[in-house]
């Protein structure tokens, strides 16, 4: 593993955020903007719960939603690279698979983390006051990094089925939309599908974040069970993702 090569790929991938308007919106701005809108419109609406506003209930899911967009980012970037022959060209250089994958993980994790920071910042600005501690925030980051891993895997799987970057963006929503509806900021009870949510990785992150933000003691087993399940699902999906990626990388 050569740091210079890894940094080169990370720099190139992060340049992409600001170079393509769509990437900029989806990987950095969408969640903060949604939080701003929901904060302003539902910050004093107690329609769902007597102690929490609708907005407060939505925040954990909105943050998880930001990670889900990684699927779109990864899928379109990988399928796009393949479409242009760029992936193949890079494969003829001394960059190793391990270096390539490692640097992609770094770049794909930086983006949702930036979005998370912007999103949380925005939430605090519009009046969100979570009851958690500093350690709680750390745990929030752990949850979302693991979810991001899972989404990198889903993105790689999506790219496998798409011939072009555009097709990949479309396909990515097959993974994004159901999770968004059943297991992020839209309460599943409202869709009459509460039982579905258990199959979606994003549910475990959203629910874990909800518990943390509500001030649940960090020793509470519910938090750790959610983290454990999320971790297990993510590892499986991630390994499948890397497998299909490796199989197709010279296509």
């Amino acid at each position: 593993m050569k740091v210079k090569r890894i940094l080169a790929v990370v720099k190139m991938e992060t340049t992409r955020i600001f170079a393509e308007p769509l990437t900029l919106v989806f990987t950095l701005l969408l969640v903060p903007v949604l939080i701003l809108i929901f904060g302003l419109t539902m910050g004093s609406n107690y329609g769902w719960h007597e102690d929490y506003t609708v907005f407060e209930i939505m925040v954990p899911g909105l943050l998880a939603y930001g990670c889900l967009l990684t699927i779109l980012d990864v899928a379109s970037s990988v399928a796009g690279g393949r479409e242009l022959g760029l992936q193949r060209r890079i494969n003829t250089t001394p960059l190793t698979s391990a270096e390539h994958i490692f640097s992609q993980i770094i770049s794909y994790t930086i983006k949702p983390l930036l979005q998370l920071l912007l999103g949380l910042g925005m939430a605090l600005i519009v009046g969100y006051r979570p009851a958690n501690t500093a350690v709680g925030y750390l745990l929030v980051i752990v949850f979302l990094v693991i979810l991001t891993f899972c989404c990198v895997g889903l993105g790689l799987i999506t790219a496998n089925f798409a011939k072009s970057a555009n097709a990949a963006s479309g396909l990515a929503f097959i993974f994004i939309v159901p999770q968004q509806i059943f297991a992020t900021f839209i309460p599943p009870e409202f869709m009459g599908a509460g039982t579905f949510k258990w199959i979606f990785p994003s549910f475990y992150a959203t629910d874990g974040l909800g518990l943390i933000f509500a001030g649940t003691p960090l020793t509470d087993s519910r938090i750790w069970i959610r983290l454990g399940i999320l971790f297990a699902i993510s590892i499986v999906i991630y390994v499948i993702g890397i497998f299909v990626y490796e199989k197709n990388k010279n296509k």
Partner: protein, 275 residues
């Protein structure tokens, strides 16, 4: 790393230097086959069907043949993108099956499609690829300036590649493949889609590289390109090698005027037919 994969190569560990491959061939290909399984057809597509040739060090070697002859597939095998169905391929003394990692350090490929990163500037692209070869900033700056000026892309170097014309993208793609000063350079249809003026410029440029003792393997379906640039050409058709040698010699042997007529005499078809 198995040592016996290495054929007569004096090891110069100082990377970036042109490797000393005296008395050995840059490339050796023997009975190479690549069959692609086609779901809808009974038979496999025989993209490369048992070809053998070698390329000497410092030589410009051409793979000439019509569309679909198997030129790109051959290059893809030599650069590790496809594994051969049968046969052996040795590049720079290393076997493609066992020592790809070493091969990647001494080769560079300019693919058929101008694969550049559209959201980076021309210079940004060059820097990115230079870093993948662990070149220093100074090396990259010095070399890229020279190449950009030589190929007339210097004034456009800071523009995003997505604003480049087709010809400019090809030139950039060529520069990228040269930035690492590879011992062995693969050029897949390097001047396709270029206007005659730029094509001439690239030919002159490739001719000047020749003095640097760099081995170049280029594929083309332009007869002129093969005749003008190549020390030797291999003419391939339907995955088979049908003639090999210096262009002049092939033309003399077949008592014709150019390589096109050589191809015609052997196959009864024109190279550009059906393009």
């Amino acid at each position: 790393m198995k040592n016996n994969d290495r054929i007569k190569k004096k090891d110069i560990s100082n990377s970036g230097m042109i490797h000393n491959l005296v008395n050995s061939n840059a490339i050796e290909v023997k009975d190479l086959k690549k069959y692609f399984a086609e779901k809808k057809k009974m038979d496999d597509v025989k993209a490369v069907d048992g070809i053998s040739f070698h390329v000497k060090n410092g030589e410009i070697f051409g793979l000439l043949g019509p569309n679909g002859a198997g030129k790109t597939t051959t290059i893809n095998i030599l650069t590790g993108m496809h594994s051969p169905t049968e046969g052996t391929a040795v590049v720079g003394g290393y076997n493609v099956k066992t020592n790809l990692k070493r091969i990647k350090e001494i080769i560079s490929v300019c693919p058929q499609e101008p694969a550049v990163i559209k959201f980076l500037s021309g210079l940004g692209n060059i820097k990115f690829f230079g870093k993948l070869y662990l070149m220093s900033k100074e090396q990259i700056t010095e070399r890229s300036e020279k190449l950009l000026k030589l190929l007339g892309l210097y004034d456009a170097r800071k523009r995003l590649a997505k604003s480049y014309s087709g010809g400019m993208l090809r030139q950039l793609s060529l520069i990228i493949s040269l930035i690492s000063e590879p011992d062995i350079l693969f050029l897949d249809e390097p001047t396709v889609g270029m206007d005659p003026r730029n094509r001439r410029k690239v030919w002159e440029f490739l001719g000047s590289i020749k003095q640097q003792k760099r081995t170049i393997i280029l594929t083309t379906h332009y007869i002129e390109e093969a005749e003008e640039l190549c020390d030797r050409v291999a003419i391939i058709d339907y995955g088979k090698l049908i003639a090999i040698g210096p262009p002049k010699k092939l033309i003399e042997e077949h008592e014709v005027k150019n390589l096109e007529e050589v191809f015609m005499k052997i196959t009864g078809r024109r190279i550009l037919e059906g393009m």
